[in-house]
Amino acid sequence: MGTTGPTIEDRSTPQTATPAVELIDITKTFPGVVANDRISLAAMPGEVLCLLGENGAGKSTLMSILSGIYRPDEGRILVDGRPVNIDSPRHGRDLGIGMVYQHLSLIPTLTVLENLMMGSNPGLSLDRDGARTRLGELSERLGVTVDPDARAGSLALGQQQQVEIIKALWSGSRVLILDEPTSMLTPQGIAELQDVLRGLKRSGLAIIFITHKLHEAVAIGDRVAILKQGKVVGRLDPADLAAMTPDEIQARIVAAMFGSSAATDVADIAELRPTSGVTATARDLSSKPLLEVVDVSADAAGGEHALADINLEVRGGEILGVAGVDGSGQRTLAEVIAGQSRHVTGSIRLGGVTIDGLSIAERQALGLRYVTDDRLGEGVVSSYPLSLNLVLKRIGQPPFWRGGRVDRAQIRRSAVESIRLFDIRTPSTETRIGKLSGGNIQKALLARELSFEPRVVVFNKPTHGLDVRTIVAVRERIRALAEEGVAIVVISNDLDELVDLSDRVAVLDAGRITGVVPAGPEAEVRIGELIVGVAPAQAVG
């Protein structure tokens, strides 16, 4: 991505001997899972410590322990060399630990000022003037401007994050923890964030930066600690980082994360790198578009932008990526195609036939499928067994229901088959689906959506939050589907993924398509430019 790494000078900032915060042998278990296993870490003032690891490696648990949400089962925490027991978020804050969460924690209906005063107002009566002054100081320190009286929900995501950082620093923090702070930002926003962090670092703050993106860790970290399955499996100190080239650093991190012996894993990782659409162009695309979206507009929903004049077409065997910052209207687009939301103007056609008036179920029957990104919220009924979830979109239809009556044996047989075909790891067909891992739930959703002759499939963030192996499996499945002649739309905020999978990538910005970029070596850069709006709109391909 278009991020600039810090220079060597930034890495050699002066440091004192005592870590601002130090974790010693922290262990935390949940029923059945060891989330943190004897983890030791130290964050020095004036340095960025990067915590790198996959989803489920234990990063978030560790941070929840540091911020006082969880308490460790074992281990010690030292702040400025003194042992502490952080027993509540307030205590964490009083100790000077400021936290910026991955999912922004501002309350959208309150103003910026109210969000900042929450939990930090000195007395009973709200000190609005004092808060305004403090906001001014901190905005200046960060080099940003924020309207104190704006509702938090009305700010752009990048600005909301700036408010979050201000909130974390509000009562004089010495340690700033950022949990996956770049996941919702544009490349430009990421660059801005790096500027802010560089300034804060110089002022002597210790920063802990949590990420699952390798290049971010290399670019931003003065120290890097690699977490895997709850353990620290590798460390890079400033000296290490200074001595190695970026490629050497990456190789070491990959070895630590995936084990040098496990050659297949590394191959998997190699596959995750952009392949510049080589596979895509090799496919034979049918000439007629299977899915056409013509001049579609839709009202804003769920905090997203309204859709305006969307035009897209996808041919059989083609994968169309949709890129954009979260909230640009991706979910509305997916729901409008699936029939879950209604569009106001325009028309949607499936195989040349307009489907505007058709219900969700009727669209499904025509072969239109939607793999939702909100797997637990709307994808599955988590208290239902896997087998029933697999037929949830076919309630009342043969062979599972005949004359309105259920055939349980048939449902179970079909579940056994899906488990085999889609490699779902589950104790039984009757296990509650909510008890399965995210990866297996996604596989179950794929099994449900991709059975019974799909013609057009819309994937919304198909690999979000999954482990590497499942990511690889899901992407292979999507490619195989395209090979079979299915028209595919992949919506994602992961540019690498889009460039890897898609034949073309449409960029959605504030509810409009600002351009469509064909796959190719320069695709990633051009998509990035379109997202931040620096390039002129491209002709729709």
């Binding site: 074992e74 879950q340 499904q364 994808g379 988590s382």
Partner: protein
């Protein structure tokens, strides 16, 4: 206003039809535990207000179960209880808190009782019963329309709307009885149906066939939820409304259909009561089954067949309780106290057994889990 509130299905763990919960012992603890605890607590309260709890409870048993006429009354009382419970189960399983059954019941009862004398005079009794049953169901169903529409169209919380409609329905029923349906008697009440035209009794008993109707209705509701795609759609709606929409269920339509069905069962309960026992309705009469049935359907885990024993318990309690309360010079509202405590102990038992199932300590940890140095 979207409705973020919990669905009734979240209150009890409604296990999907293909999985079985823990063993029988566990089920007994969960269902009988609250009842036993409530009876003990009420016994203590009786003692405090200077009544003999043992005598009180033995009066209940005597009058509601042991005495043949009492037993027959108790079985007869099960008819409306079962139908109201079935109506609640239908709504609750769809995630809809239909708490307005009193209004639905009373309005249907007033319409059935008000028209019954004329209808039964005009047509043969069985046909008349059928027509009046349908009248009751239609009136009960219609009284859910406003809450159903507000919920389906605007997501407006149905708890308050069904309750509001219930109070309006109660008043309207009284107005009807004092107005158009007022009978010849000096007190405000409808004209009385000739006893020979009321529902048949089972041979050799005073138990009318409405009980059979109720049992059939309950069995049908059970069958719908365990076997049919219609029941499955309602269940999915109750378990996860967003998933229901996602998988292509027409949510708004299903909400309205479910409410109508629920209200119709309440109305049928009224028709069965009017045609089976009373034959007329007096103004301001209100058995207020509504909220009292809520604990029963939760104890039965929203399972229509499992509600039968709880309905039997409740019927004995209410028939016997009326006698026992009279003897102890207490109001029959004592029953409310018992049933309220049953519900209270039910949530507590539920909480404790769930905790135990998850392997957690029974009491919440407040200051435990400190880091060991």
């Amino acid at each position: 206003m979207t409705s973020p509130l919990t669905s009734p299905e979240a209150v009890v763990d409604v296990a999907p039809p293909t999985t079985r919960g823990a063993g029988l012992g566990d089920a007994l603890v969960r269902s009988l535990g609250p009842i036993v605890l409530a009876l003990i607590t009420c016994g203590a309260l009786l003692a405090i207000v200077g009544r003999d709890p043992v005598a009180f409870y033995s009066d209940i048993l005597q009058a509601g179960l042991v005495r043949p006429s009492g037993l027959q009354d108790s079985i007869t009382r099960m008819a409306p209880i079962l139908l109201v419970a079935a109506g609640m189960i239908v709504a609750f399983r769809a995630g809809m808190w239909n708490l307005g059954s009193d209004g639905q019941y009373l309005l249907a009862a007033a319409c059935v009782a008000g028209t019954a004398p004329n209808v039964l005079a005009a047509v043969p009794a069985p046909l008349g019963w059928l027509v009046l049953g349908l009248v009751g169901m239609a009136v009960g169903a219609s009284w859910t329309l406003v809450p159903a529409w507000l919920r389906a169209r605007y997501g407006l919380n149905e708890i308050v709307t069904t309750l509001m409609m219930s109070f309006v329905g109660t008043g309207l029923a009284n107005l009807l009885i004092k107005g158009p349906f007022d009978g010849p008697s000096t007190v405000p009440q409808t004209a009385v149906v000739d006893p020979s035209l009321l529902l048949f009794d089972l041979p050799g008993t005073r138990i009318h066939i409405g009980v059979i109707v109720a049992l059939i209705a309950v069995a049908a509701v059970y069958w719908v939820f365990s076997r049919t795609s219609f029941g499955m759609r309602i269940d999915v709606l109750g378990a996860n409304a967003r998933a229901a929409q996602h998988v292509g269920i027409r949510v708004s339509r299903l909400i309205i259909v479910t409410f109508l069905l629920s209200g119709a069962l309440m109305g049928l309960a009224a028709a069965v009561d009017m045609l089976g026992i009373f034959g007329y309705m007096r103004a301001d009469w209100n058995p207020a089954y509504g909220l009292k049935v809520v604990p029963l359907v939760f104890l039965a885990r929203l399972n229509a067949l499992a509600v039968i024993p709880f309905a039997a318990f409740f019927s004995v309690l209410s028939i016997g309780g009326e006698y026992a309360a009279r003897r102890a010079q207490l109001p029959s509202d004592f029953l409310l106290l018992v049933i309220g405590l049953v519900l209270t102990f039910m949530v507590v038992t539920q909480y404790l057994t769930d905790k135990r199932d998850r392997g957690e300590p029974i009491l919440p940890r407040r200051r435990a889990g400190m880091a060991r140095a």
